[in-house]
């Protein structure tokens, strides 16, 4: 008999999803004036709730509320008092982490194991970390003068974590915010609005407006927004940069990537295989810093592929609420179509596809973990960000070739290096043109650690002391 794990679903009863949600403006929930839209559970395609769409007028109301809160309350409040609100939020997020994790999994499709063990702990820690900066800004190197009202637009891959990455440093630095969550994953942001109420955060300091691209555009183009922070695709990031040209708005962008994960012949092989798996299958590969290009030293290609395939065969795909699920649902039909399209290009261009045998659920949006071998730099799947559980495997012969291939992309967000040789690690990490380089590990995040890209992966940093620079006036 084989060891068949029985289903171990996390109880969904901990969350109370309302039938409809309004916008959170000036400390209260109000109806949006646009056309309400639905958010669905990507694992089942069931509608979860109706969400208000914020029109330009709604966005204006939110920005005005943020401005009032900025002028009257938040920027005037001593940092030590702001800190206490952020600490409160950190504590509440820890207390309610199970509820948030379940809701995140239901709305996003990510495995509960990840929302529970990665997203939520980091969310609470992010607020706790930046809370401590609020009364120590003069030590940050960026002065202590906030920018004003921040318009923040975040993606659907880490809905709540991106919210924390945006709101925590902004508030700590004394700014107020209007945040737009992604249209396919608004629920945890709206539940976070309740946390703001629970923490008795002054009205208007945090405003949440829901909607799609038009809402986001209204927000970033609002003339009374001083600072725009965007995480999402490089294409949209470029549009934002273009539309802000000629304004005084400060802009930080955290965009796409095509991270190279480089494995040398002296790598700690089993841990490298774990790093490859974590690098590209974490969150179904819907990660901007994913290690989606595996660069393997040609001499160990077979050994790596053998181990990798064995390991991929143990990945469990299915119900995201099952505590044993490793691979959850793709967030949306649209994203699934994009993954399917790009992977098909891999087939068409002659790369060899392999997936472990795994049954996909009948409803919902799913894509089996997939690896393509025989990929070269000339393949689309080696160049374009797939944003899905699809790994492209390339080979190299020398360290110089590895660097050259790794850097041969307009992106520059992440890279990985696996080798037991210390001097090689340092040489490689210094030559790789990427904002985050993981050596002998991958996809690690921490509020104390700056994150962000080179080149077309965006500019500005989130996390750490450097993350404050995005929300303070003094440039350094």
């Amino acid at each position: 008999m084989k060891f068949e794990y029985a289903p171990a679903p996390e109880s969904a009863s901990i969350v109370d999803i309302k039938s409809s949600y309004g916008l959170f403006i000036d400390g209260e929930f109000v109806d949006g004036r646009g056309t309400a839209f639905k958010t669905v559970n990507p694992a089942t395609e069931e509608t979860l709730a109706e969400i208000s769409e914020a029109t330009a007028d709604d966005v204006d109301a939110a920005v005005r509320a943020a401005r009032r809160a900025y002028e009257d309350v938040w920027s005037a409040m001593p940092g030590r008092e702001r800190a206490k609100y952020l600490y409160r939020i950190a504590r509440i997020m820890a207390e309610r982490s199970r509820e948030f994790a379940v809701l995140e999994t239901i709305d996003n499709g990510k495995p509960i194991r990840e929302s529970r063990d990665v997203d939520l702990p980091l969310v609470s820690q992010w607020f706790f970390y930046y809370a401590g900066w609020a009364d120590k800004l003069e030590h940050s190197g960026f002065g202590s003068t906030p920018l004003g009202v921040a318009g923040q637009v975040i993606p659907w891959n880490f809905p709540l974590m991106m919210l924390a990455w945006k709101i925590a440093p902004a508030l700590a630095a004394g700014n107020t915010v209007v945040l737009k969550p992604a249209e396919t994953t608004p629920l945890t942001a709206l539940l976070f609005a309740e946390v703001c109420q629970q923490a008795e955060l002054p009205p208007g300091v945090v405003n949440i407006v829901t909607g799609a691209g038009a809402t986001g555009q209204a927000l970033i183009e609002h003339p009374d927004v001083d600072k725009v922070a965007f995480t999402g695709s490089t294409a949209v990031g470029k549009q934002i940069a273009r539309s802000l040209a000629g304004t005084k708005k400060r802009l930080t962008l955290e965009l796409g990537g095509k991270g190279a994960n480089i494995v040398f012949d002296d790598a700690p092989l089993d841990e490298a295989v774990e790093g490859i798996v974590t690098g590209v299958f974490f969150n179904q590969g819907q990660v901007c810093c994913a290690g989606s290009r595996l660069l393997v030293q040609e001499s160990i290609l077979d050994a790596v592929m053998e181990r990798l395939k064995d390991r991929m065969s143990t990945l469990r795909l299915g119900d995201p609420l099952d505590k044993n699920t490793d691979i959850g649902a793709i967030n949306s039909a649209r994203q699934l179509a994009r993954i399917t399209d790009l992977a098909s290009a891999g087939d068409a261009e002659g790369a060899e596809r392999w997936s472990p045998s795994c049954a996909l659920p009948e409803s919902g949006f799913w894509y089996a973990p997939t690896v393509f071998t025989g990929v070269t730099q000339a393949h689309r799947i080696a160049q374009e960000e797939i944003f899905g559980p699809v790994l492209s495997v390339l080979t190299f012969r020398t360290p110089a070739e590895a660097v050259e291939k790794a850097n041969n992309t307009p992106y520059g967000l992440s890279a990985g290096v696996w080798t037991d040789k210390g001097s090689r690690i340092l040489a490689m990490t210094s030559q790789l043109r990427a904002g985050v380089v993981w050596a002998n590990t991958f996809n690690k995040f921490d509020p104390a650690s700056p994150f962000g890209g080179y080149q077309e992966s965006g500019y500005g940093r989130e996390g750490g002391r450097h993350g404050l620079g995005a929300y303070l006036k003094e440039v350094r």
Binding site: E4, Y5, L269, D270, D420
Partner: protein
């Protein structure tokens, strides 16, 4: 190629990554039917062990009885894999076990330190085998290993293997004294190359004894060794595994790292004593639906 070159050419183990892998495996949630199956499997993998200076024929006979009927109130409960004792206690165990099918394991080779001459280690082995042990748990010479004298360690294992005759040889690396996972991997390969049928973590006399990461490294070693040589070698974590929850985590790890070929008492064992009663308590809980207590399992 020299043994040293071979062993030092093995891929390194990144400690943080290995421990993270184990932590990830530890989050597997095993429920209901899978849990019942795993508990029975774990019981059948136990090498029920007593290795005390105070062991007596009476004591080991009692253990042998427990080994055959772990839960006398429930005859569906499987027997354990083996009883593990010092060589001079083998005879009464042989007597008590009869033809029950439970194996008789004995720790030979100047256990637990291994600090004696090869002649004595071989005599110790021959004595246990002659007394009826069909499994020998030997210790490697950790001093020689740490001094880089891999050939000595290899030769001793090979010699003990020969002295075992048809008895299975489990080679104890005493990983708590090897300190690094790189050493655990090298010692595992050394033992397998020298003829080990099983590689075993610990004597139970040194802390830390068995740990999940050490067992992970050993499972990777046997998996890779079979891939390279075609020969399958078993793994036995010993010492420190006390709860059903831990045992199930180990089985999950066996399943996902080495594969289900190893989910068999022929290829995976738990060296333990108190673990068995916790497995039995959990087994009773699963069959009755309520928690049991220590008075409802036998103390032997």
């Amino acid at each position: 190629m020299s043994l040293r070159t071979t062993l030092e050419g093995l891929p390194g183990v990144d400690r943080v990554g290995a421990e993270a892998r184990v932590a990830g495996l530890g989050t597997r949630s095993i429920k209901t039917t899978a849990k019942a199956w795993a508990i029975d499997l774990a019981i059948s993998m136990v090498d029920l062990t007593t290795l005390e200076g105070s062991d007596t024929p009476g004591k080991v006979r009692a253990l042998a009885a427990k080994a055959q009927r772990p839960d006398p109130t429930d005859l569906t409960c499987p027997s354990v894999a083996a009883v593990c004792v010092y060589p001079d206690m083998v005879a009464p165990v042989v007597d008590a076990l009869g033809d029950s099918g439970v194996h008789i394991a004995s720790v030979a080779t100047a256990f637990p330190s291994g600090r004696s001459s090869l002649a004595i280690k071989l005599a110790d082995t021959a004595y246990a085998v002659a007394a009826g042990a069909d499994e020998i748990d030997m210790v490697i010479d950790r001093g020689a290993f740490l001094a880089g004298d891999y050939d000595t360690v290899f030769d001793q294992i090979a010699a003990v293997k020969e002295a075992c005759g048809t008895a299975h040889l489990k080679v104890i690396c005493e990983t708590g004294e090897l300190a690094t996972y790189d050493n655990v991997r090298r010692a595992s390969w050394l033992a397998m190359l020298a003829g080990a049928d099983f590689i075993k973590t610990s004597t139970g006399k040194v802390q830390p004894a068995a740990t999940m990461p050490v067992t992970l490294v050993m499972l990777e070693a046997v998996r890779d060794f079979r891939r390279e040589t075609g020969r399958q070698v078993g793994v036995k974590p010993a010492g420190g595994i006390r709860t059903s929850k831990d045992a199930i985590k180990y089985l999950v790890m066996v399943n996902e790292v080495a594969g289900d070929d190893w989910l068999d008492p022929a290829w995976f064992r738990f060296g333990a004593s108190t673990l068995l009663n916790d497995l039995l308590l959990q087994r009773q809980k699963l069959s009755t639906g309520h928690y049991s207590g220590p008075d409802y399992v036998t103390l032997d």
